[in-house]
């Protein structure tokens, strides 16, 4: 069977009439033979390095080949709709730099090894080409494919910051995030009516860096600020960063590279807990290694992330297409934990997920007023969250997904019960029981916990179920 990627693509894209081949290595010429015997072009141009080669390849099958040199290539019109430039194993970076001065309709790069930095090539060509397809051989006949189409807006990644009373920390956050100087990123700071000096700091920063945009709105909670930013985001990918945390300078470059190279719906990395009083941090154990760092589209592997990946949407980027396709947003009626439903729904609907196996986000802890410290009626918000989520899981989900969903439900309620004040314990437990039994019966709940979780949890579950 044919081994190169482009042969499959070209063999059925019959709208391509004019093909321009640029070949990096003399050993790759035999692939040209394979490709041309499976395709039907009207005109075939081949960039040849010497006259000897042009004499050998004057025709293959029924294709007449026109050998061209570099100057003629630059003279050709590559912007027509039926034209495609195909580069086979061509790794010379200066070539792409010069090619990026021309308007190109479609460019296909086909590499039979992983060593090439497809992201850098993409960065060079993104201004001039309408469609870029870069395939790298991952393992035998398995490729990593970057498939990018030009869109109207020039922005690829939108980062949204819900700002409320974070004047102390926001400068550190802005500095760490803007260290990546890519022009195709926008930073949307949504000022949620914060009374302190956060607004002035952002305004000042936006004078130095025109990628930073300040959006003001009346106070409405974190969820409403995120939703406000999401509605105004122009990028193909969106990320949400809490402005009291800070990130590794390379974080968003790495996430975006991973997402783009795999055409992924979600890309995420690990995170550190940063203790504000001692200035020490420690990485949090999580599911970021195999098989996720290679990218996965296997349903069960993605579903496993629903209960077993720690919450934290601030270390993920999501493709806007995924959110638009399924109409996913934030529930603005939730005053806290609005990231839990967002994480579950996006993972439920995601078709491809990839992780960056490094700990790049710093999550600040030990700060007064943090949500985690809630121990009273505020915890009742969980019932609202699961009411929203139940509507997603009611129909159109598989058995395993439902099981995983109940595990996260149980875990959340157990966590709340461990935190909650004694006077509310009984009331919460009985409500939790009713909530757990809305979508499935008792036996199945126990079975799911037994199969995917520990025996200790089964005991705790039985305790809840015995509540009145």
């Amino acid at each position: 069977m044919p081994k190169h990627y482009s042969i499959n693509y070209l063999s059925y894209h019959s709208e391509i009439k004019k093909a321009v081949f640029c070949i990096g290595h003399i050993d790759t010429y035999h692939i040209l033979h394979d490709i041309l015997s499976n395709t039907n072009f009207k005109e075939v141009y081949v960039l040849v390095h010497d006259e000897l080669a042009s004499a050998t390849f004057s025709s293959i099958g029924k294709h007449q080949i026109i050998g061209i040199d570099y100057d003629r290539l630059m003279g050709l019109d590559l912007s027509a709709e039926d034209t495609s430039v195909i580069c086979l194993d061509l790794i010379d970076p200066t070539f792409y730099k010069e090619l990026s001065t021309k308007k190109i309709h479609e460019i296909i790069l086909d590499f039979n090894w992983l060593g090439i930095e497809s992201f850098e090539i993409w960065e060079q060509l993104r201004k001039s080409a309408d469609h870029i397809l870069i395939a790298k051989l991952k393992s035998q006949s398995d490729y990593k494919v970057l498939d990018w189409h030009k869109s109207e807006s020039d922005i690829e990644l939108s980062l949204i910051f819900p700002v409320y009373n974070v004047g102390k920390y926001i400068q550190e956050c802005i500095d760490s995030v803007t260290a990546w100087d890519a022009p195709y990123v926008e930073f949307l700071f949504v000022n949620d009516g914060s009374p302190d000096n956060s607004e002035q700091i952002i305004a000042e920063a936006s004078k130095k860096d025109n990628r930073i945009k300040l959006l003001n709105k009346a106070n409405g909670g974190c969820a409403s600020a995120r939703q406000f930013g999401l509605e105004r985001a122009k990028g193909k990918y969106v990320g949400f960063v809490d402005p009291d945390d800070f990130v590794d300078e390379t974080m968003f470059k790495k996430l975006f590279t991973a997402a783009l190279e795999h055409s992924s719906d979600i890309a995420y990395c690990g995170y550190n807990e940063f203790y504000n009083d001692t200035k020490k941090y420690k990485p949090v154990k999580d599911l970021i290694f195999a098989p996720y760092f290679n990218g996965t589209e296997i349903r069960n592997q993605i579903d496993q992330l629903i209960p077993f990946m720690r919450i934290g949407i601030w270390r993920c980027i999501f493709s806007k297409e995924l959110l638009d396709r399924n109409n996913i947003g934030f529930y603005t009626d939730l005053r806290r934990f609005d990231d839990l439903p967002f994480k579950v729904i996006t993972l439920l609907k995601a078709r491809h997920v990839v992780s960056v196996p490094e700990y790049l986000y710093y999550y600040r802890l030990d700060r007064a007023g943090q949500d985690i410290k809630a121990d009273d009626e505020k915890l009742y918000v969980h019932f609202d969250i699961f009411k929203h989520l139940d509507s997603w899981f009611e129909n159109n989900c598989s058995d395993k997904q439902l099981d995983y969903y109940h595990i996260i439900k149980l875990d959340t309620h157990l966590w709340a019960l461990s935190k909650i004040q004694k006077r509310l314990y009984k009331d919460y437990a009985s409500k939790a029981k009713a909530d757990l039994l809305t979508l499935c019966d008792k036996n199945r709940l126990i079975l799911a916990t037994k199969t995917y979780n520990s025996r200790k949890k089964v005991k705790q579950l039985k305790k809840i179920l015995s509540a009145k």
């Binding site: 059925y12 499976n38 006949s141 058995d399």
Partner: protein, 362 residues
Amino acid sequence: MENKKLFTIVVPMYNVECFLKDCLNSLVNQSSKNFCAILIDDGSTDKTKEIALSYVEQYPNIFKYIYQKNKGLGGARNTGIDNIDTKYSIFLDSDDFIAVRTIEYLEELISKQEEEPDIILTGPTIYNSINKTYWPFYDNFEVNRIFANKDFTNVSINPEILSLEASFWRCIWRTEFLKANNVRFMEHVAWEDVPVHFVLFHEAKRIIKLTDKLTFFYRINTGGQITAGTGKSRLDMPIVFKQIVDIMKQQKWPMVERAHVINILQKFVKWTMEVISDEYRKEFVESAHILYKSLSKKEYKAYKKYIHTSFKLRMMFKLFRSNSKHKILADRSKTIRFEKRYEKLKRKAKTAAKKIKHLFRK
């Protein structure tokens, strides 16, 4: 009645507005025009009809449009068979597509043959629409092995050809051969091509292959397939296999061939048990139990003899046949417990074997 063209491509369509254009474009732009296509609309409720009619209008000498009430994929294919008047027929699913020079290479291949082939096997390519990668079809390697150093084959030469993926769309059929065998698909049933596949491969005198060229592209992960695969459609599988088991008993097929049919049945059942939802599990196990009961001991022995299987698969066969123990499989929690116990036993056996080896070395 005889058409001047060589191939007819039957395209059954049911609510495929997002994929249909890819499929029809791949037909329009073929390098050889020696074919016509019949688009069979199986009662679609979306824009399928409009898209199809626009193509018919633009290329009236290629396309023909037929509308029928919803009868399932099998029913649409039946209508297709009734309307074919060319020498060879191709059945292309509307979410798949073919490479630009497929028809040209098929023409070339047929012109080289001394005798007309009954079936031409192709080597499709899988297109994963999520991460945009391509893979050779699951059994391409197997096909190449069967055809090594051979121009053609049939069941009496290579009985293992029955163990190939039972997919009707990946083959090119001689129309007279189809009509001589009275091919009829079951209507409103999933997996309807399985019995037809076995019967035709059993009857074919001359099977050739075209695997060195790119031909069919099979699209996976289109969404919708996943949930459809775990639900009610799985219950059709025992019905479908019952038909072929009856046929092979009536016609007294040789034991080798029966073994290969059982092999495919086992694969399908194993796959189903992994994905089926709890709602339908019990019903499926009961009907599969009846199906397994209808297989004789002789057939099981043949299966053991001719097919290279695992212990787990053989155990599954026995469990399904057992009057009482098949109930274990009907309950998911019991199955999980059973598997755990089995794993434990296996581990014990392994360590025991190691110890014995160690002793022998001393």
